[in-house]
Symmetry: C2
Subunit: 325 residues, 2 copies
C-alpha cells in the first residue's frame, strides 16, 4: 500500500481511537472499545474517504461518517462471532469469550445505535439519503448472514445462490462505503450507482479470493491455517463448484470426505485439494474472480471524474486484488 493510503489509514485509526463511545456501565462499553482496538485494515472507511476524494479535497466532511462503516463492520463481527461460536477474532479472544454472550449481544446493539450517531454527522441536506441507503445495506448484510446460516443445513446450494449470499453478507457494505463517500462528496445519482456497483462487484471478487486463498494460499504468507474451510465442510465457491463438476470417482470421494466425521486433518485437506486440482477448481475460481474484478473496474471507469483523481482508489483496488493473505 502506498504512503498516502497508509497515512489516511492512520488518520482513520486516530479518529476511531478518539471516538466517544460511552463509559458507564463499563460492561456495556468496554467490549466496544475492545473490538475496535483489535485492529484490521480499516478498508471500509478508507473506501469512503477515497470515494469522497474523487469529488472533494481532504476529508473534513467524510471522516466522521466514514467511521460508521467501520463500527458497523465490527458490530457484525461481534454478533457473527456469537452465532459462529468463534473463540478468536484477530488472534484475540472474542467478546463473548472474554465477557459473556449477553454482554456481546447488548454491546453489539448499542454499537449499531452508535453507527447512526456517526451517520448523523453528515450534512442535514443529505442525512436522510445517507441513512436510508445505509439501512438497505444493513438489512442486506443481515439477510446475507441468515442465508449463510441457512446454507449450513441445505444440501444443494447453487453457484448463483452462493454468489447472492456473499454479495449480501460482505460485498454490499463495500458498495455502501463507496456510495457514502460519493454522497457526502456531492456525486450525482449515476456516479453513486457506479460507485455502489464498483464496490459490490469487487467485494464479490474479494470474497471468492478469500475462498481460494483458504485452500491455495502460500501457508508462509497466509495468516491462518490453510484448508480450514475444507475441514469445516464450509460451502465455499470451491466446494460448491467441485460438487457440481466432479464426476465418477471424484464425486464419490468428495462426498465421502464431506460426510466423514473421523479423519486426520492433513489427510482430508490433501485429498480434497487433490480432487479440486483434478477438476481445475483454482483456474475456474480465478476466472470468476477476474470476471467480477473486471466488471467492477468497468463500473469504476464510468464515473465521471478526471483521470488524475482516480489513482488512489485504483491503487487501493490493485492492492486488494493482489493480496495473498
Amino acid at each position: 500500500m502506498n504512503e498516502k493510503l497508509k497515512e489516511l489509514i492512520g488518520v482513520i485509526d486516530q479518529a476511531l481511537k478518539q471516538l466517544k463511545i460511552g463509559d458507564d456501565p463499563s460492561n456495556l462499553y468496554d467490549p466496544i472499545k475492545y473490538i475496535l482496538s483489535l485492529g484490521g485494515k480499516r478498508i471500509r472507511p478508507l473506501l469512503s474517504v477515497l470515494a469522497y476524494q474523487l469529488f472533494q479535497e481532504g476529508y473534513d466532511k467524510i471522516l466522521m461518517p466514514s467511521l460508521a462503516v467501520e463500527v458497523f463492520h465490527n458490530f457484525t463481527l461481534l454478533h457473527d462471532d456469537i452465532m459462529d461460536k468463534a473463540p478468536l477474532r484477530r488472534n484475540q479472544p472474542t467478546v463473548h469469550e472474554k465477557w459473556n454472550e449477553n454482554v456481546a449481544i447488548l454491546s453489539g446493539d448499542v454499537m449499531l445505535v452508535r453507527v447512526y450517531d456517526l451517520l448523523l454527522q453528515a450534512d442535514g441536506s443529505i442525512v436522510k439519503e445517507v441513512i436510508s441507503r445505509f439501512n438497505n445495506c444493513a438489512a442486506a448484510v443481515c439477510e446475507g448472514q441468515q442465508l449463510d446460516m441457512d446454507f449450513e443445513s441445505i444440501d444443494n446450494v447453487t453457484q448463483e445462490e452462493y454468489i447472492n449470499m456473499i454479495r449480501l453478507k460482505t460485498a454490499v457494505l463495500l458498495g455502501y462505503s463507496l456510495e457514502l463517500g460519493g454522497l457526502i462528496g456531492g456525486a450525482g445519482e449515476e456516479d453513486l450507482a457506479h460507485l455502489k456497483n464498483f464496490g459490490t462487484l469487487m467485494g464479490i471478487g474479494f470474497q471468492l479470493m478469500d475462498d481460494l486463498l483458504d485452500v491455495y494460499a502460500d501457508k508462509d504468507v497466509f495468516g491462518k491455517q490453510v484448508g480450514g474451510d475444507i475441514l469445516a465442510n464450509k460451502k465455499t465457491f470451491l466446494l460448491i463448484k467441485a460438487t457440481e463438476l466432479a464426476g465418477g470417482n471424484d464425486k464419490k470421494e468428495l462426498e465421502a470426505w464431506v460426510s466423514k466425521t473421523d479423519f486426520i486433518p492433513e489427510e482430508k485437506i490433501r485429498a480434497v485439494t487433490a480432487i479440486y486440482d483434478r477438476i481445475g477448481i483454482e483456474a475456474i475460481t480465478r476466472e470468476q474472480i477476474n470476471f467480477y474484478f473486471e466488471k467492477g473496474l468497468g463500473e469504476f471507469n464510468k464515473i465521471r471524474v478526471k483521470e488524475d483523481r482516480r489513482k488512489d482508489l485504483l491503487s487501493l483496488s490493485g492492492f486488494l486484488m493482489k493480496r495473498e493473505k
Copy 2:
C-alpha cells in the same frame, strides 16, 4: 380505556400489520412478524400519537414514525428474552425458543435497522433531531439492561441505583415516545423537555407499580403468578427497600429466605410478604409511586397547550396509573 383511545390503538395495530418488514429469507423476517403479532397494548406509539395531537389534528405525520417506538420496544424484548433465557413472551414461545438463539439475535438486529426506516419517515427538516434524540434513548435503554444484569451479581443495590436503572431500562422510552410526538407535532424546546420528563417520571412510577403488583396484586385480576419476583430474588424496589429497612429478626429471616435454595414456593412467598407487611413496604412503595406520578403530572401541566387538548393524554395516564395487572 375510552373509545377514542381504543380506536387509535386499532389504527396503530392496523398500520403495524401492514408494515413492510421484509420476506426473504423467511428465517430472518418471520420472527419479526411473529413477535409483532403477539399483541401488547401499543402504549408507546399511542403516547406518540397523543403527544402529537396536543399540537396537531389527526395522525397523518405521526403514525408511521410512532411505529418506530413499538418496533424498538419489541426489539428490546426479543434480545432481552435471549439474555434472560425466557421461555415465554405474552404466553407464547419466545423467538429463541421457537427458532433458535442465532435467529433471535439476527432478527433483532434487522428490527433495529427497521426502526430507523420508520423514524426516517419524519419530515426532512426534523429527521436529524428525531434520530439523534432516539439514539440517546436507545443507548440509555441498553445501559439500563446492562445495569439490570450487573445488579444480579451485586449485593448492595441502593434505592438510587435501582431508580436510575429502571429510568434507563424502561422509563426513557416512554419519555422519548412523547418527545417524538411533540417533535413531529412542532412543539418548542421547552414543551419537548416537559413531554420527555413527563413520560420518564410516569415510566418510573409504572415500573414501581409493576414491582408492587408482583407481590400485592389481586391474583384473580393479575395475569401472572403473584410472587414471581420473590421466588427469583429479583432485586425490585420492594426487596431493596426491605433489605434497607428490616431490623433484627426480620433482617435475618429475609436474608435466610434470599439465600435458601431449597424451599416450598408458596411458603417463601408467604414469609417474605409477611416481612414486607411488617415493614410496611406496600405503603412506602405507593408513596414513591405517587411521588413520581405527581412529579410527572407537574411536568405535563407545564406544557403550553389549551386545556381541552390535554384530556386524551390525561385519560391514558389515568388508565395506566390505575391498572391492576
